[in-house]
Symmetry: C2
Subunit: 231 residues, 2 copies
DNA sequence: GTCTATAGGCTGATAGAC
DNA sequence: GTCTATCAGCCTATAGAC
């Protein structure tokens, strides 16, 4: 009884070192790879199990269905994007706020390309699992940021552009370096993209957006090194 | 004998009205839908056959394997994009050439969104069938257009931006209206995108690129109506 | 919690009558 | 050219021994 009590104490599900937690992580990161490479239908629980180093039945012990795995992966994906997006504030200088946002989005394409591809796949397929999220939370958050762009325009800090479309373009331009990496690599003659490539991308997209939207350059120090043109 | 000769005359494979030709078209346009919605792995020959109004075995009579159907669909997809891309000429005024290219790309997202989604899926999966094309023909064609951008910059017609990346951004920004249509519709509160939405997109992306790259406005008549701001 | 064995269903593709 | 019937294989998911 004493022993049983101790064991159940140190292996509770929330424990960061429980077997359950470790296997959960193994399965989810294997699943992220497979879903990114093959899409939902192309992915098999067998391959997820193999990459996680577990028997298939064990995977189904932790996640009853393939869709459950997919849902868990999906919810882990959005957080960093939303965080970067939420950081845009009305009090910010537009140059800083947009520049930082674009740079952060490009770096997420560098650091978590699989996440970007899974999301892209989900959108292309018509958002079968994310449509509710799109129509509720995301809409509200975008509305708020659209309001900020309109304020900036009204105060003469930038041109009165169509604000939703600015986000569409920023999202597309930054995520293309993850989603279409093969194409980008092929055209730049790279085996894989370098840090310099991502810097060039971030600097160029920032220039395009700031100049293109007529954003007044701020006086304050930026702390941002200038572009190292790499092509 | 006479009859047989006549029949074989009017039903040759190249004949635009032969049964073979009609069924080929039925299968390929059904396949375009299914591949766009489900991806290569998610698509089934059964569903392609159903939407084409043919028994599955009949589909396999025209195309031996699913991959054969996919290849046929894929090759029909790229032509309009490449045509628009090839139209960019060194003699053109950059304002005209880039503006026309962007507008054409946006209109292709409107008119052939399925094609865009199939291509996006192919890229996300690492271009299993298109990688050879990417590394040969496309690379050469892009190189040529990159040269044109460099010439324009050297002649002071635009800023010296990283030319490859300008194409990456234009491709991403224009294609997002097809690939991520669900997201765009959700945020714009539309059931489907209107002609006005596509006009706004084309005008905005054009402004962003032309202003952002410091393209000198041309003096010549443009024949292009100005943006009807819709959002 | 782990894992072998297997159920039950769907898939791509073909055989062969018409 | 058309289409029914069918095969071999793989898939998700579970049963049940350990």
């Amino acid at each position: 009884m004493t022993k049983h009590a101790r064991v159940s104490e140190t292996s509770r599900h929330g424990d960061a070192h429980s077997v359950r937690m470790r296997n959960n992580i193994k399965i989810l990161s294997a699943a992220e790879e497979v879903f990114a490479e093959k899409g939902f239908d192309g992915a098999t629980t067998q391959e997820i199990a193999d990459r996680a180093g577990l028997p298939k039945a064990n995977v189904h012990y932790y996640f009853r269905t393939k869709k459950d795995i997919y849902l868990a992966v999906m919810s882990s994906i959005m957080a960093p994007w939303l965080e970067a997006f939420q950081a845009i504030s009305a009090e910010d200088d537009p140059t800083e706020a947009l520049g930082n946002y674009i740079r952060r989005k490009v770096m997420l394409s560098k650091e978590r390309p699989l996440a970007s591809r899974i999301f892209a796949n989900e959108m292309i397929r018509g958002a079968p699992v994310l449509s509710e999220f799109l129509n509720s939370d995301l809409n509200d958050w975008v509305d708020e940021k659209v309001g900020i762009l309109r304020q900036w325009a009204k105060r003469g800090k930038m041109d009165p552009i169509p604000p939703h479309h600015l986000f569409f373009v920023i999202w597309a331009a930054t995520q293309t370096y993850a989603d279409f990496e093969v194409q980008v690599c092929s055209i730049l003659r790279r085996d894989r993209l370098t840090s310099g490539d991502f810097d060039t991308a971030a600097d160029f997209i920032t220039t395009l957006v700031l100049k293109g939207c007529g954003v007044r350059p701020s006086d304050q120090k930026t702390g941002r090194r200038s572009a190292k043109r790499t092509t």
